[in-house]
C-alpha cells in the first residue's frame, strides 16, 4: 500500500481494473500509460503493460490471486526491472530475482536493470574465435561451439538434452565462466535434480538457476528467459564470459501463445501469434561476442533448447529457432532408443561458426574422423544383407565401433579438451586395435580417472605444442609406455 500511495502521489494518475482473465487484466484510466511500463495495484500486485487500446490497457499481471474488479491501479513510470548482482551466484531464483532455495535474501552489491533491452549493435560485435569446451568429445570434435555462439539444442523429450547442457555448465564453471540455467515451466523435481547435480560436481557456486514451474502464472513463465538474459548481460558487462541455457523455448512459445490468445490477438500458424519469431530473435540477438567499453572481448553464449516430436525437425517453432541460431545439435530419439549416450546425430547436427575456433590439428582430426564415420555407416548398410564381408569392410566396421565407444559418455563423465586429443591420438595409433570393445571402454575410464588424480601433470603443456597429426602421433608414442603401465 505504501508503494501504491507513493506512486499515486508522484504521478497523480489512477486507473481501475475493468476485467481480468487468467494472467491478463484490462485497466481503464491512466491516460499517460506507456507500453512495457510497470503498474502496481492497491494490494501491491505488479503488472506489465502489454498493449494499449482506445479506452483500456492490457496488463500482464504477475500475480492474479485475489485481484478485484474496480481495484485501483497506479503507474510507476518505470519499465519492469529486476535486481542483479554477484550475490545471485549459487542461488535458485524466480524471474523477479526472489530466492526460492530457502537460503535467505540475496546479499552483496545490487543494482536494478530493465529486462527488455536492445541487443548490442553490430559495431561492437566480433567474430566467434575461441572454442567453448563442452567436455563431450563428440561435440567438441564434430560440432564445436565457440564463445558468443548461439547453438540450438533440439530433440524429443527425455533424450538427454538437459544432461548434455549440465555437463557443459560443469565444464565451463571450471574455466571461470558464469553459467545461467533458465528453467521455463520445469517441474520442481527437475530443478531440484539440476541443483543436486551441479552441487555434486562443485559447479553450483558459479551458476544461477532461474526457475519457473508449470503452475506459475503465464506472465512469470513468459518473463523467465528475459530475466536470465538480463543477468547474463550484467555479468558480461562486468568483464565475465557467460553461458546461458534456455530450457526450453518451445514451452516459452506455448506460454506466449496462451497470453496472446487471452489478449485476443489474431492467431497465425498453429495458433501462434504473428510476432513469435520476433520475440525469440529479439532475445537471442542479445547473446554474442563483443568488445566492451574497456576494449575487452566478452561474450554471452546462448544454448536455447527446442523440443520436437518423433524427430520432426520441420515444426514451426524448431524451424524458427534454427533460422535464428548459429547451428543446432540434434538429439536423435532413434539413437537414444539404441542406447547411444549422448544420443547426438552428428550427421544431422551443424555448427555454422564453430569451425572458426578450431586449430589446424583439430580440423585435420575432424575431417579424418568424419570420413571414417561415413565409411562405417556405408559398411553397416552392406553388412545388413548378412553376406560374408571382405576383410577391409570388417576392419572399417570394427574401427567404426571403436569410434562409437570413444564418443559414448555417461552423464558423470566430462573429458577436458587436452585429453580428447590424446584419446583420439590413441585411436588413430591403433592402441586398442587388438583389444576388445569392453577392454577399450574400461581403459578409457581408467585413463580418465588417473588424469583426474593428476597422474599426467605435464600432459597439458605437451598438448599445447601439437601442431599437426604427425606431431600428435609422435607424442602418443612418447607417452605410450606411461599409459600401458596404468592398465
Amino acid at each position: 500500500m505504501n508503494e501504491f500511495n507513493f506512486y499515486l502521489e508522484k504521478n497523480k494518475e489512477i486507473g481501475y481494473i475493468s476485467s481480468f482473465s487468467h494472467a491478463v487484466a484490462y485497466v481503464s484510466g491512466l491516460p499517460g500509460l506507456r507500453l512495457e511500463e510497470m503498474i502496481i495495484t492497491e494490494s501491491g500486485k505488479l503488472g506489465i503493460t502489454h498493449g494499449l487500446k482506445k479506452d483500456l490497457a492490457e496488463i500482464l499481471m504477475i500475480d492474479v490471486k485475489n485481484l478485484k474488479i474496480k481495484e485501483r491501479v497506479v503507474r510507476t513510470e518505470k519499465e519492469f526491472e529486476i535486481m542483479v548482482g554477484p550475490g545471485l551466484l549459487g542461488r535458485v531464483i524466480n524471474p523477479l530475482s526472489q530466492p526460492l532455495d530457502g537460503k535467505g535474501t540475496i546479499e552483496g552489491e545490487k543494482e536494478y536493470q530493465k529486462i527488455k533491452k536492445e541487443a548490442p549493435p553490430f559495431i561492437e560485435r566480433i567474430r566467434v574465435n575461441k572454442p567453448l569446451e563442452t567436455g563431450i568429445i563428440m561435440v567438441d570434435l564434430l560440432i564445436p561451439i565457440g564463445y558468443g555462439q548461439r547453438e540450438l539444442i533440439i530433440g524429443d523429450t527425455k533424450t538427454g538434452k538437459t544432461t548434455f547442457l549440465l555437463q557443459t555448465i560443469v565444464s565451463q564453471t571450471k574455466k571461470g565462466v558464469v553459467c545461467i540455467y533458465v528453467g521455463i515451466g520445469k517441474k520442481d523435481t527437475a530443478i531440484k535434480w539440476t541443483e543436486e547435480y551441479l552441487k555434486k560436481e562443485d559447479a553450483l557456486d558459479k551458476t544461477i538457476i532461474v526457475h519457473t514451474s508449470p503452475d506459475d502464472s503465464p506472465s512469470l513463465i513468459y518473463l523467465a528467459p528475459y530475466t536470465g538474459m538480463t543477468i547474463a548481460e550484467y555479468f558480461r558487462d562486468k568483464g565475465k564470459n557467460v553461458l546461458i541455457v534456455l530450457d526450453d523455448l518451445s514451452t516459452h512459445a506455448k506460454i506466449y501463445r496462451e497470453i496472446s490468445l487471452l489478449l485476443r490477438r489474431t492467431p497465425g500458424r498453429d495458433s501462434y501469434p504473428g510476432d513469435i519469431f520476433h520475440l525469440h530473435a529479439e532475445l537471442l540477438e542479445r547473446a554474442g561476442n563483443i568488445i566492451n567499453k574497456n576494449k575487452k572481448e566478452v561474450s554471452i553464449t546462448a544454448l536455447p533448447v527446442a523440443v520436437t516430436l518423433e524427430n520432426d525437425l520441420s515444426g514451426y517453432i524448431p524451424t524458427n529457432l534454427m533460422a535464428m541460431t548459429d547451428g543446432h545439435i540434434f538429439f536423435d530419439v532413434n539413437e537414444f532408443r539404441k542406447g547411444k549416450r549422448p544420443a547426438i546425430n552428428a550427421f544431422l547436427s551443424v555448427s555454422r561458426v564453430g569451425n572458426q575456433t578450431k586449430t589446424p590439428i583439430e580440423k585435420d582430426l575432424t575431417s579424418w574422423i568424419r570420413k571414417k564415420m561415413i565409411e562405417y555407416q556405408k559398411a553397416l548398410e552392406i553388412a545388413q544383407f548378412g553376406a560374408e564381408l571382405p576383410v577391409e569392410t570388417q576392419k572399417t566396421i570394427d574401427f567404426g565401433k571403436r569410434i562409437e565407444i570413444l564418443f559414448s559418455q555417461e552423464s558423470e563423465i566430462i573429458i577436458p579438451q587436452e585429453l580428447q586429443l590424446i584419446l583420439i591420438g590413441l585411436l588413430i595409433s591403433d592402441f586398442w586395435k587388438n583389444k576388445s570393445l569392453i577392454e577399450m571402454k574400461t581403459e578409457i575410464s581408467n585413463f580418465l580417472e588417473k588424469y583426474k588424480k593428476g597422474k599426467f601433470p605435464k600432459l597439458p603443456e605437451k598438448i599445447e605444442e601439437i601442431k599437426d597429426l604427425e606431431h600428435l602421433q609422435f607424442l602418443i608414442k612418447e607417452i605410450l609406455p606411461e599409459i600401458e603401465t596404468l592398465g
Binding site: E9, K12, E13, I14, G29, P31
Partner: protein, 148 residues
C-alpha cells in the same frame, strides 16, 4: 444524438444516471408489447412529449436500437469522482454542477463519496487524473514529520 442533449441536464450524479438507465431498461421490455398504454405514459414521463412523438415515428427495430444508443451515450459520459468529508445536499450538488458546466463543459456526471478521513477539502479523480487536495493528507504528512 441531438434529441437527447437536453436530458443531460437532468442527469447530475451517478445515482441519477443509474436510475435513468434502469428506467430505460424497464421501457425496453415494453417495446414489443401489444398493450402499450402504460408504455406511452412512461415514455412521456421519462423523456417528454417531443421525444415520445419522435420515438413513435420510428419503426419497431429502430426503437430498440434507439434505446441502446441512448444507454451507450449516457454510459460514456465522463465522470468526476469526488471524495469529501460531508454529505452534500441537493443545493450544493446543483451549484457544483453549474460551475462544472461553465468551466469544463456539459455532460459531466458527479460521483460523490462521503469519506470522513478526508477531514476537509476534497480528493478529485477525473479521466484518469488524481488530485488529493484533502486536509486529511496534510495532517498525515505532519504526523509523519513529527515521528521522524
Amino acid at each position: 444524438m441531438e434529441i437527447i442533449k437536453h436530458f443531460i441536464d437532468k442527469i447530475i450524479t451517478k445515482e441519477d444516471l443509474i436510475f435513468f438507465l434502469q428506467e430505460i431498461n424497464s421501457l425496453e421490455k415494453f417495446v414489443f408489447e401489444k398493450e402499450k398504454n402504460f408504455f406511452f405514459k412512461k415514455l412521456e414521463e421519462v423523456f417528454g412529449k417531443e421525444f415520445k412523438d419522435f420515438f413513435l415515428s420510428q419503426p419497431l427495430e429502430e426503437q430498440l436500437f434507439l434505446f441502446k444508443k441512448i444507454k451507450e451515450e449516457f454510459q460514456n459520459l465522463p465522470q468526476l469522482k469526488l471524495e469529501i468529508a460531508f454529505q452534500p445536499d441537493r443545493g450544493f450538488i446543483l451549484r457544483l454542477k453549474k460551475w462544472l458546466d461553465e468551466e469544463v463543459g456539459q455532460g459531466i456526471i458527479l460521483d460523490i463519496f462521503f469519506d470522513p478521513d478526508v477531514v476537509g477539502g476534497a480528493i478529485v479523480e477525473y479521466q484518469g487524473k488524481y488530485f488529493d487536495f484533502s486536509l486529511g493528507k496534510e495532517i498525515d504528512n505532519l504526523q509523519l514529520e513529527g515521528y521522524s
